[in-house]
């Protein structure tokens, strides 16, 4: 009898009710501390002979959750030794979509740069010269931190949550992150004004600049040097007042105090809502600079004097923005 009951139960558990239920896709979580990831494609060649042409292929991958619109780059090369050829330019722009539920891997593009090596200084067999790629782009961090609002003044009362600090160390899909939120319930009369101390830090490998300093950081002369991050916070559709509104991350982790103007609890003739958890949305806006150093080694062939007899070849620069992937795709973090 017991065996029969168990078998029937299993059968019933295995059955579904009628109708079609959509299969849920992979859940998207805005985590990590990466923004734009720049890597040298393995097809690149940094071992060149004098007077020879070479190509550097860079894989640009937006591993963060913010879209990059009109990011700019500059190349720093030793023009006396490396001469850009074809459509290779020392400055340019790019746009890349961020990771999202519809594009969980993020946008990708490949930039190609072709060079021809000039004459080496006299009597040198080998010469090392750098290829420095400097990418400057506007970026944003959107952190949704669950915070506990506790308007209850009775310490003995039952609570559904506690107003303890909430860590954001896992990142919010951007190099600048909210590392910690400390909720404070400021009591006024019978109600509380929620206040949050937001800790912000740069966890990426690049440099934070102000959005209006991006041009300056990438050398086109626009703007002035500045490294400010704009901080905005929202709680239940209310824009909080954050002080300071612009923070400088040059000295490391920085704190911002964001205050609500809304009273919670038994105030203004309404009943106490009790303790509840609600997301605090912190929006950070900034510019970010990522630098890549790639050394070239140029070797003089035996009996090679100068490049005057070598004919210059023309090869157009390759720029592709597609789903094409390089050999080392996807990049390993």
């Amino acid at each position: 009898m017991n065996k029969f009951v168990i078998a029937l139960s299993l059968f019933l558990v295995g059955c579904q009710l009628g109708g079609t239920t959509p299969t849920p896709g992979p859940q998207f979580y805005a985590t990590g501390t990466q923004g734009l990831d720049v890597r040298v494609n393995t097809l690149s060649n940094n071992q060149l002979f004098m007077c020879e042409e070479g190509e550097v292929l860079l894989d640009l991958h937006n591993l963060g959750t913010s879209d990059i619109a009109q990011g700019i780059y500059t190349l720093t090369i030793e023009d006396q030794i490396l001469k850009p050829v074809g459509k290779t330019k020392k400055q340019g722009s790019y746009s890349l979509e961020g990771r999202s539920a519809v594009n969980p891997v993020g946008g990708y593009t490949q930039l190609g740069f072709r060079f021809k090596t000039n004459n080496l200084p006299a009597q040198l067999e080998t010469y090392q010269t750098p290829f420095i790629f400097n990418a400057c782009y506007p970026y944003a961090t959107s952190a949704n931190i669950p915070v506990c609002i506790d308007p209850t003044r009775d310490p003995q009362a039952a609570r559904s949550c506690k107003t303890t600090p909430v860590s954001g160390k896992g990142g919010q899909g951007a190099p600048v992150l909210v590392t910690l939120v400390e909720p404070l319930m400021v009591v006024q009369d019978n109600a509380v004004l929620p206040t949050f101390i937001v800790h912000i830090a740069n966890a990426g490998k690049g440099r934070v600049v102000s959005t209006d300093s991006l041009g300056f950081a990438c050398g086109n002369g626009g703007g002035t040097p500045s490294s400010k991050v704009r901080v905005m916070a929202q709680l239940q559709d209310e824009q909080l007042k954050c002080l300071p509104e612009m923070v400088d991350l040059r000295q490391g982790e920085t704190k911002v105090t964001c205050m609500s103007n809304t009273y919670f609890g038994a105030a203004e003739g309404r009943a106490n809502q009790g303790t509840f958890t609600t997301p605090l949305t912190v929006q950070l806006e900034y510019g970010y600079v990522t630098t890549l150093f790639y050394p070239f080694t140029i070797t003089r062939l035996a009996h090679q004097e100068d490049c005057s007899s070598t004919q210059e070849t023309y090869t157009p620069s390759t720029v592709s923005t597609s789903t094409d992937r390089g050999i080392n795709w996807p990049p390993r973090s």
């Binding site: 020392k90 400055q91 009597q123 040198l124 440099r207 990438c218 040097p225």
Partner: protein
């Protein structure tokens, strides 16, 4: 101690010394043997003498004993005869006591055999010694004389034992008195430096004085000095007669003579050495001053698979000892390593003789075969010979020198890292090193010069170099020139090209404006060329370590930075100059003396 033992000891000493002369032992064994012999001679000499004395006494006693035995034998015979002739006549005891030693047969047969054995031993020693000394290089006449004297003395001692003590003492004196000479020759044969030879002789002299005291020691010292002089120095130069040429003894004597002459020449040339040392010291001081005032610029030599320059390799002479009148053949291999195949390296060769202190002997210049001038391309090598006339060189030790004078080029570059001043300040405010943020390390900030006889250091001060927009600011480049080869000598600059990167131009050098020397290249570099006469103004001093200060000014910030937050631009220095290298070889010019045939 019997006479056989005494002779054996002396023989062992002689054979030991002769074996040393024959160079069958390594140097350390020779030293040990010398010490052992010294101990034997200095500490057991009295015992040896006593032994010899006892042997002499024993010899006398043996002679007396033999006489007594003969007498007894005679008495016995007489008694028997008497018994036979006069059987009834009683024999008185007194008749037996008055018998005198017989003089008609002083030595018995067994004693003769024993002495013959001694003579045989001495003869074998003599033959071995003759053989060894002959192979060591002693001419036969001298060999026979020395061995004959020693063997003769020993033979006399055997034949006439009472003389043994005196003779052995005489032999000992000869050996001790000539010990200095022996040490001198051994040290010379082993090519010991003069210092070690001097120390060994010093120890010997102290030992002689300690053993024989005051006057006797002085006599030994004087005797040694005279022996040295007669053997090694004019007018006699006895080693050239006493020793066969090219024999170990000859080479030993010659080595010691060269060492002594070099030492003496240095003493005579002390003022010159002091002056030369002073020049080197001045040069070192000059360098230290430049470092102290921050005007000494460093650089690293570029890694090349081949050393660059002109080299004289495998230098030697066909014979280091040349009789007067015989040509001296000095040979070498001339090698050139350079990259510039389109520009030939002009090399002028010269050879001549020098005194031991390095002063050229007038008129001694030799003839270079196959030719004295070469135009070399990269990686070329030629065997060359220099034929010198030995009659132009005085007898004795000298040096022959081959000299190559050539034009060579050295290039150097320094990567300058330029950033807008505001960017540098921004990094500074963030507590970051701007260049480190771009992945640039310290080695990228050091000048690199190509291998060769000249060292070129360069510096731009602290990097990155700030660029001030809307100003004509340009950094000052320091360029330090220094001799890179200790064995060579810088002669003169022929040409210098200093190149500033695009966006900068050279304004002056050491404060002197140089507008007429400069032009823009197709790569928009600003290049200034200086020829020999103008370069002489920049390098007026003989002391060579020198830093030039090259003042620049900004021409175009856009050209310099190229719209990037960081620009890497190279300064270049290329110099062509004349340089001289030389290699010396020691020779000895021998006098034309008739050699004594063995």
């Amino acid at each position: 101690m019997g006479i056989g033992k005494a002779v054996a000891i002396v023989a062992a000493i002689i054979i030991g010394i002769l074996a040393l002369l024959y160079w069958i032992l390594p140097w350390w064994a020779i030293l040990i043997a010398l010490v052992v012999m010294a101990v034997l001679l200095f500490f057991f000499w009295p015992a040896i003498l006593a032994g010899i004395g006892m042997a002499a006494e024993a010899g006398v006693a043996a002679a007396e004993g033999a006489a007594m035995a003969n007498a007894a034998k005679a008495v016995s015979s007489a008694t028997t005869a008497a018994k036979t002739a006069h059987a009834s006549t009683p024999v008185t005891p007194a008749s037996t006591t008055v018998i005198a030693p017989a003089n008609h047969d002083p030595i018995g047969n067994s004693e003769i055999l024993k002495r013959l054995e001694h003579v045989l031993v001495v003869a074998i020693i003599g033959i071995v010694a003759y053989f060894i000394l002959g192979n060591a290089g002693l001419q036969s006449t001298q060999n026979i004389s020395i061995i004959g004297t020693i063997v003769g003395l020993i033979a006399i001692a055997i034949v006439y034992p009472p003389a043994l003590g005196v003779i052995m003492k005489l032999v000992g004196i000869i050996f001790l008195a000539g010990g200095g000479l022996l040490i001198f020759l051994i040290a010379g044969r082993l090519f010991a430096p003069a210092l070690i030879t001097t120390v060994m002789l010093g120890v010997y002299i102290v030992a002689v004085f300690a053993t024989w005291k005051g006057k006797a020691g002085f006599v030994v010292l004087l005797l040694n000095t005279v022996l040295f002089w007669l053997l090694l120095f004019p007018p006699l130069l006895y080693y050239q007669q006493a020793f066969r040429p090219e024999s170990p003894l000859y080479i030993a004597a010659e080595n010691q003579r060269t060492i002594f002459e070099e030492g003496w020449a240095k003493v005579r040339n002390t003022p010159g050495l002091i002056k030369e040392g002073g020049t080197s010291a001045q040069q070192a001081i000059q360098r230290q001053i430049l470092i102290a005032i921050g005007k000494y610029e460093t650089g690293v030599e570029a890694a090349n698979s081949q050393p660059l320059g002109v080299f004289l390799e495998h230098v030697g002479v066909t014979s280091p000892r040349v009789p007067l009148g015989t040509p001296i053949d000095m040979y070498a291999e001339l090698t050139a390593q350079a990259f510039k195949a389109d520009e030939l390296l002009n090399v002028n060769l010269r050879c001549y003789a020098k005194t031991l202190v390095g002063k050229e002997i007038p008129g001694s210049a030799g003839e270079i075969q196959p030719q004295s001038t070469f135009e070399l391309s990269e990686l070329e090598s030629y065997p060359i010979d220099c034929i010198l006339d030995s009659t132009k060189i005085e007898e004795g030790a000298a040096k022959v020198s081959i000299e190559a004078t050539f034009d060579f080029a050295t290039g150097a570059f320094l990567k300058g890292h330029f950033m807008p001043q505001e960017v540098i300040r921004d990094y500074a405010r963030q507590g970051k090193q701007p260049l480190t943020e771009f992945g640039i390390t310290g080695k990228d900030l050091t000048a690199v010069y190509t291998p060769g006889p000249l060292r070129v250091g360069m510096g731009l001060g602290k990097q990155p170099v700030p660029i001030l927009p809307n100003t004509a600011f340009g950094p000052t480049l320091g360029v330090t020139f220094e001799n890179n080869w200790p064995q060579g000598k810088f002669v003169a600059f022929k040409k210098m090209v200093i190149t500033a990167p695009p966006g900068l131009e050279i304004k002056s050098i050491d404060g002197k404006p140089v507008p007429g020397n400069c032009k823009l290249t197709p790569l928009k570099e600003h290049s200034c060329i200086f020829q020999e006469t103008q370069l002489a103004e920049f390098f007026p001093d003989k002391i060579f370590t020198k830093t030039l200060r090259v003042q620049t000014q900004g021409r175009s910030v856009e050209e310099l930075l190229g719209g990037a937050p960081l620009a890497i631009r190279s300064f270049k220095v290329d110099v062509t100059y004349t340089y001289r290298i030389n290699k010396d070889v020691d020779i000895t010019v021998l006098p034309l003396l008739p050699l004594v045939k063995p």
